[in-house]
């Protein structure tokens, strides 16, 4: 039996499209409605079966929604939720899939004072997706076994939290709960810094050397193929945490430099062994 009446997905690209496919494949909602700013993307999502129908305008999009998931670039999420919330029926829960949380949650909890008190926002961040874009790369199992961080605050009602966590769990995800600020501090290290570093690594490679790359460079720089506009927004939205993470990384890189300059084999091997220990901890967990 479908656990939700109607789910509306705003932005039906890789993430939104995968949510739609996952919800439909698992029968988690009686209906999936798609909405977004690009008619061609909506059309593609409909054809791929990621949504049951496409809405023509914001009011129609959320008219029957029990859950609204906004899958937009981080700079557009708060604005989009503020546009939709006043159009929602009482009882509607809104969430997002943005890579940063503190600023978005803060802005929307302030704005919520002007909404019907029975329409609420709780933030989400599925740690899934890759450097590709568009519903044609979507998959019903994109979230299977992946972490989704849900970021409730003191204002969040226990019912909403449960509903949202059940939703992601039913898509196969492992839900982790964190305050928005903690999420951003952690993701600066585990996602935003790796993106910056991968981009700097790719960007500092003379193009004529690309033919001499192998698996190491190719894996290490893969995410640098991500969309520059989307990632510029993410990096700036988490600027202070990212700068702190970058400083720690740069300090450690300087330790490698010093070990090299001093031809200090023992210290260099110690640094490499410590890195391997942390990397192996990741594989052990998977």
């Amino acid at each position: 039996m479908a656990s939700l009446r109607s789910v509306t997905i705003v932005g039906v690209g890789l993430i939104g499209g995968s949510i739609g496919l996952g919800v439909r494949a698992r029968g988690l909602a009686a209906k999936v409605v798609g909405y977004g700013s690009r008619p061609a993307t909506l059309e593609a999502a409909l054809k791929l079966g990621a949504v049951d129908e496409v809405a023509a305008d914001p009011a129609a999009a959320v008219a029957e929604a029990e859950l609204v998931v906004v899958c937009a670039p981080v700079d557009h999420i708060a604005k989009r939720v503020q546009q939709l919330a006043p159009l929602c029926q009482p009882g509607t829960l809104l969430t997002d899939a943005g890579s940063t949380k503190a600023q978005i949650v803060r802005e929307l909890e302030a704005a919520a004072a002007g909404w019907n008190p029975d329409v609420r926002f709780v933030g989400s961040h599925p740690l899934a997706g890759n450097e590709k874009r568009g519903p044609q790369h979507a998959s019903a199992d994109l979230f299977a076994g992946r972490v989704v961080v849900v970021t409730p605050t003191t204002q969040t009602r226990p019912d909403d939290r449960r509903k949202l966590e059940t939703f992601w769990s039913e898509l196969g995800a492992r839900v982790v709960e964190m305050p928005p600020e903690e999420h951003d501090a952690a993701l600066a290290v585990t996602s935003h810094l790796p993106h910056l570093v991968a981009a700097a690594l790719a960007g500092s490679t003379p193009e004529e050397f690309v033919q001499l790359t192998a698996g190491g460079w190719q894996d290490s720089t893969r995410i640098a193929a991500g969309d520059p506009s989307l990632w510029r927004q993410i990096l700036l939205a988490n600027r202070d945490n990212l700068l702190a993470a970058l400083a720690r990384f740069a300090d450690l890189a300087a330790e490698y430099r010093q070990a090299l300059e001093g031809s200090d084999a023992a210290q260099l091997e110690h640094l490499l062994a410590e890195a391997k220990r942390i990397r192996d901890a990741c594989d052990a967990r998977l």
Copy 2:
């Protein structure tokens, strides 16, 4: 028809074992002899069919060899070749599979003055392999479609060069010829710097955050799981080129930092777009 009489592989781990499997699968030699310092590894390689037989000592290992491939940690290659070359029959060609070339080739060309003039060394570096070790991970197709750099010098005879390049080509590789010094300058950027950066990225991640990593961090740090002792040798053997590559990377990382500090969205997106351009050039080539 086998193009070589007998090939000897010294060090039958991931790389050496893959050479053996590839040579045997393709019938490139009448016989593949394995030799190395670890009896258990030799035994495993024999069982896996990576070699036809195992030699008990250095003299037996190279007695009939037309080609000897030394697959050892970079610090051990020159020593091993110098041990074997005086035991070889006239007409034997020796090569290696080391990740650095200048120091090894320089040392061996100096040493070759004391050998039979009909026993020669020419350097090789297959850009294949991964963070795993041991013949159990070897594959007959490890080199298929991969680049192998061969590093002849002014002392190299055209016949030896052709023989070596034919050998790697028959294993499925794309052979690129470069002087040893150029190889090391390029590989500092395309392999050794990525390793250092991946290790610094993994090493600067607090262990409790590992559960919040996804594909980005995991791909970017994959090579940090490599063997610390092998990589310490490689990084130090190419120290000066690596320090230069690290300095260029650090300069670009500082540009990202400045763009973030100044909240300069246009500059940040410009940097990310340039990184994507170079990363996409790699995918376009594959």
